[in-house]
């Protein structure tokens, strides 16, 4: 039963990917065939040869990496404070931090656009990076806070008794025990940022061309082969980023351990 479920789940993921890959290599596909009659690397060569495509990929990666680093830098201390300290207004701050998950991006982006216009942040790389923190930070804070809650205050208190200050507690006790949560939130932030269209479009104003900005018009053109190449690049980039984050943030700890609850 378990194997059957795993097989079905695996098939649901791999079959569309196989078709996507085949379509990206399709030179000729005539109805009613579902498999292409002629395969070639023409579309791949054509798209990868476009300067605009390479530039948008580089911009996308630059924005997503910056957003991931900034989101983690903001979320980690915020999650630590919310989980470990009792202070006035804690619940209010918690709700405000999670608000972007409830409020649609379009509602935020209109107001944000006006503010950014005043500050001269529209159509800039920094402007796009900052606006992408809005839909990403709540995910990171939610995951990290849950993990801090799970670890509890005890380990931190014990470390303080043994001579650690708050910075040492975070660095030597919480971070090593939070690698899986850190990796999960970083992956999530990266993927949400990498696939962000609306906020990038409104704040970037078409000047900052990320991969999704380039992909949407291509999708409307109806060229299946071209769309498939874009999609494959999109998926591969996200997969490589996930692998790298998992590899370097989660580490490869052979000594598996458990938190005593």
């Amino acid at each position: 039963m378990k194997k059957t479920i795993l097989f079905i789940m695996g098939a649901c993921i791999t079959i569309p990917l196989i078709f996507l890959f085949l379509w990206s290599l399709t030179q000729r596909l005539q109805w009613p065939n579902i498999l292409p009659q002629q395969l070639s690397l023409n579309t791949w060569q054509q798209i990868l040869g476009q300067k605009e495509f390479i530039l948008s990929l580089a911009i996308s990666l630059g924005i997503s990496i910056s957003v991931t680093l900034l989101a983690m830098a903001v979320s980690l201390p915020a999650a630590f404070a919310i989980s470990q300290y009792a202070f006035k207004g804690r619940t209010f701050i918690w709700i405000m931090l999670l608000m972007p998950l409830i409020i649609p991006s379009i509602s935020i982006s209109i107001g944000l656009h006006l503010v950014y216009l005043k500050w001269g942040l529209t159509d800039t790389f920094i402007g796009v990076v900052l606006c992408q923190l809005i839909p990403t930070v709540p995910y990171a804070i939610k995951i990290l806070t849950s993990n801090f809650d799970l670890l509890g205050r005890g380990l931190g208190e014990q470390a303080k008794i043994l001579g650690a200050n708050t910075f040492d507690v975070i660095l030597h006790i919480y971070l090593p025990n939070m690698k899986p949560a850190l990796s999960l939130s970083a992956v999530l932030v990266f993927i949400v940022s990498f696939s962000q269209y609306l906020l990038t479009f409104l704040i970037g104003g078409g000047t900052i061309k990320t991969l999704p900005i380039l992909l949407f018009p291509v999708m409307q053109s109806g060229n299946r082969s071209e769309v498939s190449v874009y999609s494959m690049v999109f998926i591969l980039t996200a997969m490589i980023a996930t692998f790298l984050i998992e590899r370097y943030l989660s580490g490869n700890n052979k000594n598996d351990y458990y938190i005593n609850l």
Binding site: Q158, A159, L162, H172, P176, Y257, I259, N260
Partner: protein, 341 residues
């Protein structure tokens, strides 16, 4: 001068007073147990001494230095928590080394000190084991080694035996007592188990509803309790109701003795093991009938009906055994009678 002194500590949560002017003193190398029911503020008091909770008022001095407002990490007081709180990502040796690492000690030196302390707690060769690979007793030993390696001025222990099974608990009790005497470490332990407290402590502080009910040696607290709560908390009791008239106490069960003071109704208390029981009548013995009996291993627990009042009596199992319904004679030594008010 006392080594560690706690003066008039007060703490309230949501307008509810948890600790009310708690004061006590500990000498260097002394083992003090803070004994009390669950929720009486024992752990809060311990955390205040450690600096993990800020007191509302009061003062803590260690070696004549006021540490009331000193940061936890600067107090030089170690603490072993109820659930040990070993760092799960570090092995036993790295756990023990942690405080040395915080002091910035060089790698080679801290490794040799950590191994030395692991040897002290009889865990040589276990340094590479991770917390999840250790048993409850081993975890506790690592936690103790980790606390001691920092060379604290005092060590605090919060219910250290509560997660251990009965046999291991007794073994660890002996181990801690031996270790504490060996290194002459000033120790304060919080517990709700009076047997543990009496076995380990030089002095016992009994807490009741956030106040210090009594502080004294185990014998003092057991034999001369300050009030009925302390008396009941330290062991089972029989209450003997009666009245005092013209310098003599008279009770319903027939117990009489000289008792100076104003004439009034009065309650006295006596511990079950202080009452003697015999099948042979003698002077000052009171007649009773065995109502029930329970075998408790080394002791027998009898319930004896004496002039309509049931008395709980503990007798050694090896001595004569009495049957239910048998007529017996009991003796209550006057020196074992405590105030029950």
């Amino acid at each position: 001068m006392y080594y560690l002194a706690v003066e008039a500590i007060e703490k309230s949560y949501n307008n509810k007073k948890i600790l009310d002017k708690i004061s006590f003193q500990v000498n260097k190398g002394e083992f003090l147990s803070i004994l009390g029911e669950s929720g009486c503020g024992k752990t809060t008091l311990l955390k205040i001494i450690a600096g993990l909770i800020k007191q509302d008022s009061g003062k803590i001095t260690l070696e004549q230095c006021d540490i009331s407002n000193t940061l936890t990490q600067k107090r030089s007081i170690a603490m072993v928590f109820q659930d040990y709180l070993l760092f799960p990502h570090l092995n036993a040796r790295d756990n023990v080394e942690f405080s040395l690492k915080m002091k910035g000690m060089e790698e080679k030196k801290k490794r040799s000190i950590a191994l030395e302390y692991l040897e002290l707690v009889q865990l040589s060769g276990m340094g590479d084991k991770y917390p999840h690979e250790l048993s409850g007793g081993q975890k506790q030993r690592v936690a103790i080694a980790r606390a001691l390696v920092a060379e604290p001025k005092a060590i605090l222990m919060d219910e250290p035996f509560s997660n251990l099974d009965t046999n291991l608990r007794s073994e660890m009790c002996e181990f801690i007592k031996r270790l504490q005497k060996q290194i002459e470490m000033t120790t304060i332990m919080v517990t709700h188990d009076r047997k543990e407290a009496m076995q380990l402590s030089d002095n016992i502080l009994v807490l009741h509803d956030g106040t210090a009910a009594q502080c004294g040696t185990p014998a003092e607290v057991y034999k001369s309790p300050a009030d009925l709560f302390v008396a009941r908390f330290m062991g089972d009791l029989n209450l003997i109701e009666g009245y005092r008239r013209s310098g003599r106490f008279y009770s319903q069960i027939g117990l009489e003795f000289s008792d100076e003071g104003i004439d009034k109704n009065i309650i006295y208390a006596v511990r079950p093991e202080s009452i003697g029981v015999s099948s042979i009548a003698a002077v000052d013995y009171i007649k009773g009938v065995i109502q029930s009996k329970f075998f408790m291993g080394e002791k027998m627990n009898y319930s004896v009906l004496v002039n309509g009042t049931p008395l709980n009596i503990l007798a050694l199992s090896g001595n004569s055994e009495y049957n239910i319904g048998q007529e017996v004679f009991i003796n209550i030594p006057v020196e074992c009678i405590m105030s029950g008010e």
